[in-house]
Symmetry: C2
Subunit: 108 residues, 2 copies
């Protein structure tokens, strides 16, 4: 059994060389909103949900991105309502939000 039932990692990488990076897309706000919602809903903690900061997840072309493990489901999101849907549907109820899933051919 996984220590956290679902562990979501948000890429917060900031590139300084002009290449695309998640931080350009306000990934920090997405992370903070997710963390706050998960806490509000009482989902946080062991056997529950963990919302985590991460460095570059190497799928920059789809940024901003996040990945949910152990499910290994990758998301791209635009705004806080997308995050709300990921929290409610996937992190709380285990249903993947198909419309936000990052296509497998999107890489760096």
């Amino acid at each position: 059994m996984s220590y956290f039932q679902r562990h979501i990692f948000f890429c917060l990488n900031q590139r300084e060389n002009g290449e695309a990076s998640c931080a350009q897309h306000d990934a920090q706000a997405g992370f903070e909103h997710c963390k706050s919602r998960v806490k509000q809903l009482g989902l946080a903690g062991k056997d529950g949900v963990r919302v985590n900061k991460a460095g570059c997840l190497d799928r920059c072309a789809g940024g901003p991105v996040a990945v949910v493990y152990p499910d290994a489901v990758w998301y791209t999101y635009v705004d806080q309502s997308d995050i709300d849907e990921i929290v409610e549907s996937h992190l709380k109820n285990g249903q993947v939000v198909e419309r936000l899933v990052l296509p497998d051919n999107v890489g760096r």
Copy 2:
């Protein structure tokens, strides 16, 4: 199928308030060594291995810690030879390094 066959996250969190944190235990060196070994062995990339920086993984009492997904196997390590064993045994060959597994009751 997981975009990365195995995705390892190293906690690099630095606390400034005197509480235990992975950065006190030279987690950055462990991360860099792992990343370098994975690259040397040609394991890096899609369908292969990704070595990632992470913020606090909330299991600080076992620091320095790292987690391998989608396997959801948590490790604590001491030195570069531990990292070498995780790379060779688990990341390359899929065999968990039992002696380094973080006990389930170790939390923050």
